[in-house]
């Protein structure tokens, strides 16, 4: 191993997480996307164009793919012409295959006539992604895994595209949701004997895109108890908060990773956390996950303040109280902007370290341009940040949102006062 340097990261698995940089290329064998690749059900022409541009540049290439699909591909990949995985199409050279399920934003709909199509079908027919997990039957779901073999490692990938939680719950209760098991899989349903022989064991990954946890009403989410215990790892899409380090399931014996979104689509607390993707290695029946911070994410911070707790504001009946409030809030906003900008630096530094950029070589370089090197699409004006200041103003007059916001137009993309 040709180590350049050793870098330690502090995080919950700190003692296990050492980045060692080497010159070798450690590219991923494949990409797994757990839904909502597109924000709109009918993405605009521009969005489709840019998406195809990006996938073309990164996923087509001369290198051979190092694994095989040994399941019935016609069942797995229905929307391709030949019914084969994209890297086996003789007329294409794919070296980074993407496997994707649809989310609630980009689910299949009837688009005139009788064809039911999702935006992902367009990418699939162009051999840019392998669209899995589409189940068209109304009253039952039968999830047939994509069986992947690399050397002695065998992975069964179950894809289950988003559907309305109520419908899924109904089917689940009626035992209409079935997960087919690979032929020759030794493990029995439920308890059963655990097969220690790696040769015959499948590592089972379930990708789904549904509401998680309770709090949304009992029938409005997927409960962990509904997921079969023979799964090893669940990749949970739809929830935007990044909880990528696999959690042990509260109910079952499997683990759950929730990568979270790569962009904040709402100004909620969960979205203000740093965004990561995960590098998942599976070897035999073992796995490990390395979180990698994303740098191309607009910095976003959120803070709550209560005017009543601010002693400095003085008497409520003061005729100049409105000006005082405005001044106070302006200061808070300035602080938030400063925090968000500091966060950019930290995120960029993390991203640089994780991707093996030797910071010592570039002591004076602009981190932002270092981490976005080689990217065609970059964050425009990353110094324009997202902030949200929630003001509890009971007892005081509220501030005119628009007039107040206009003071910061140069610095912030958006701020919300509630």
């Amino acid at each position: 191993m040709n180590n350049k340097e050793t870098i330690m990261t502090i995080h919950p698995m700190a003692r296990h997480c050492l980045y060692i940089h080497s010159h070798e290329n450690k590219k991923c064998d494949m990409v797994l996307l757990a839904g909502d690749l597109f924000h709109e059900n009918k993405p605009s022409r521009r969005t489709l164009y840019r998406t195809m541009d990006i996938i073309r540049r990164y996923c087509l290439g001369p290198d051979p793919v190092q694994f095989h699909i040994i399941s019935d591909q016609k069942t797995n990949f229905r929307s391709t012409i030949h019914g084969v995985v994209n890297f086996e199409d003789p007329f294409y050279a794919v070296d980074l295959p993407i496997f994707a399920i649809h989310g609630n934003h980009d689910d299949p709909v009837r688009d005139g006539g009788s064809d039911v199509l999702a935006a992902l079908d367009l990418l699939a027919i162009a051999n840019l992604v392998n669209y899995i997990g589409r189940h068209d039957e109304v009253d039952k779901v039968e999830v047939s895994p994509v069986l992947i073999q690399k050397g002695s490692t065998r992975v069964a990938l179950y894809g289950m595209g988003s559907m309305r939680d109520e419908r899924l719950n109904r089917m689940w209760l009626g035992k209409k949701v079935r997960f087919l098991k690979p032929e020759g899989d030794e493990e029995e349903d439920g308890e059963g004997d655990v097969d220690d022989d790696d040769e015959h064991k499948w590592f089972k990954i379930l990708a789904l895109h549904q509401n998680r946890d309770a709090g949304r009403g009992k029938k409005n989410c997927v409960h962990e108890s509904m997921i079969p215990n023979f799964m090893d790892l669940v990749v949970w899409g739809h929830e935007h908060e990044c909880r990528i380090i696999p959690d042990e399931s509260a109910m079952g014996t499997f683990r759950i990773t929730q990568p979270g979104s790569s962009i904040a689509t709402s100004l909620s607390a969960g979205e203000s956390l740093n965004k990561h993707v995960g590098i998942l290695d599976v070897r035999g029946s073992d796995f490990r996950m390395l979180p990698v911070p994303l740098s191309q994410v607009r910095s976003f911070v959120i803070r709550d303040v209560s005017l009543q707790q601010q002693k400095g504001l003085g008497d409520k009946l003061d005729p100049r109280i409105d000006d005082k409030i405005t001044e106070f809030l302006a200061k808070e906003v300035e602080n938030l902007i400063a925090t968000a900008r500091e966060q950019i630096q930290l995120t960029h530094r993390d991203a640089a370290v994780a991707t093996g950029i030797d910071l010592e070589q570039y002591p004076h370089s602009d981190l932002a341009s270092l981490v976005s090197q080689g990217l065609k699409y970059k964050l425009e004006k990353p110094e324009q940040v997202l902030i949200r200041l929630k003001v509890e103003h009971s007892g005081y007059n509220s501030v005119n949102n628009q007039r107040f916001g206009s003071r910061f137009v140069e610095n912030v993309v958006r701020s919300i006062f509630t």
Binding site: H16, N25, K26, L96, F287, A354, S372
Partner: protein
């Protein structure tokens, strides 16, 4: 040697993976296998895991219009050019 800045995962107080996770790792029902030297061997399947990329989000915004595409391109570029070997992160084995 660098000590990188903490990732958000441990900054977040609500997310209690910290202690718990570490204790789970050495818990009774799993076992950590020895780190191996040959990092990504012919028996290791490496998967980039990402979700909810929301391509096209706020695409008409003059400043934020690029955001979703920039992040997605970064994801794929990491998948393609990932140069970090993580051999010291042990595999987790289910017993």
């Amino acid at each position: 040697m660098y000590l990188s800045t903490p990732m958000s995962i441990e900054i977040d107080d609500d997310y209690e993976v910290g202690e718990e996770e570490v204790s789970n790792v050495s818990g009774p029902n799993i076992q950590i296998t020895e780190p191996i030297d040959n990092d990504i061997d012919e028996d290791t399947l490496r998967i980039m895991v990402s979700t909810d990329n929301h391509l096209g989000f706020e695409e008409k915004d003059p400043i934020r219009g690029n955001d979703s595409f920039a992040a997605f391109e970064e994801v794929l570029s990491l998948a393609k050019r990932f140069k970090v070997c993580i051999s010291l992160i042990p595999f987790i084995h289910f017993l």
